[in-house]
C-alpha cells in the first residue's frame, strides 16, 4: 500500500514537472531563458518516472532492474551538454562581438572567432617549489 502511494505520487509529480517544462518551451520569451525549462524541469520529470519504474519493478516483479539508473545517469549527464551546444549555436547565430564582455586575451569568443588557425594554449610559468601560496 505504501509503495503504491509512493509510485503513484512519483508518477503524478513527474508528469507535472514534464508538463511545466514543455509549457515553458512555448511560454518563455527568449531562447536563453527557454533553455532552462526543458533542461531542468523535463529532466527532473523523467528522473521521477524512472525512479517510479524502479520501485514498481522491485515491489511488484521482485527483481532489481538497473537499466533505469543507467538511463537516468545518461540523461542527467547529457542534458547540460546539449543545452551548452544549443546556447553556443544561438550565440553564433544572433550575438555580435559588441554584445559580449571582452575575453582578456587576443582571441575573440569561441563562437565568434571563425578563423581556421588552431588555438595556441597559454603557458604559465611554473611556480616556486614548496608550499603553494
Amino acid at each position: 500500500m505504501f509503495a503504491e502511494i509512493l509510485v503513484a505520487a512519483l508518477l503524478v509529480i513527474s508528469g507535472v514537472f514534464a508538463l511545466v517544462g514543455s509549457y515553458g518551451l512555448i511560454k518563455l520569451p527568449d531562447l536563453m531563458t527557454r533553455l532552462h525549462a526543458p533542461t531542468k524541469a523535463s529532466t527532473l520529470g523523467v528522473g521521477g518516472a524512472l525512479i517510479a519504474s524502479m520501485l514498481h519493478a522491485i515491489v511488484w516483479r521482485n527483481e532489481v532492474s538497473w537499466h533505469e539508473l543507467l538511463i537516468t545517469l545518461f540523461l542527467f549527464l547529457t542534458a547540460p551538454i546539449t543545452a551548452n551546444f544549443i546556447a553556443k549555436a544561438h550565440m553564433a547565430d544572433k550575438l555580435k562581438s559588441g554584445d559580449l564582455p571582452p575575453t582578456g586575451t587576443d582571441r575573440d569568443w569561441a563562437t565568434l572567432d571563425l578563423s581556421e588557425e588552431p588555438v595556441q594554449p597559454v603557458m604559465t610559468p611554473p611556480g616556486q617549489p614548496g608550499r603553494p601560496s
Binding site: 512555448i26 533553455l35 526543458p38 523535463s42 537499466h67 538511463i71 540523461l75 547529457t78 551546444f85
Partner: protein, 89 residues
C-alpha cells in the same frame, strides 16, 4: 490508484510531446527547433518507460536507452552543424 496515476502521466507527457511538435513546426529560429526536438526525445523516453510500467514488463528499457543515446548524438550533431557548418572537422 497506480492506474489513475499512469493515465495522468500519459496525458501530461502526451501534451508535452504535442507542445514540442507545435514548437518544431512554428519556431522563431533554428536553435529553437533543435531544443524542441531534444525536449521531445526526453518526453518520448518517459512515455516508453511509463508504458513499460503499465504493461508490467522490463522489455522496453533497452529501447529507451537507445532512444536517449541517439537523441543526444543527433542534437549535438545538429547544433555543431549550425555552429560550424560542418559536423566532423
Amino acid at each position: 490508484m497506480i492506474a489513475a496515476a499512469l493515465t495522468f502521466a500519459f496525458a501530461c507527457y502526451g501534451i508535452g510531446v504535442l507542445i514540442c511538435l507545435w514548437r518544431v513546426i512554428f519556431a522563431p529560429s533554428i536553435p529553437d527547433r533543435v531544443l524542441a526536438l531534444d525536449t521531445m526525445v526526453v518526453n518520448m523516453i518517459a512515455l516508453i518507460v511509463i508504458y513499460g510500467i503499465s504493461i508490467g514488463t522490463g522489455l522496453y528499457f533497452e529501447a529507451a536507452m537507445l532512444f536517449a543515446m541517439t537523441g543526444f548524438v543527433s542534437s549535438v550533431a545538429y547544433a555543431k552543424f549550425i555552429l560550424r557548418g560542418d559536423i566532423i572537422e
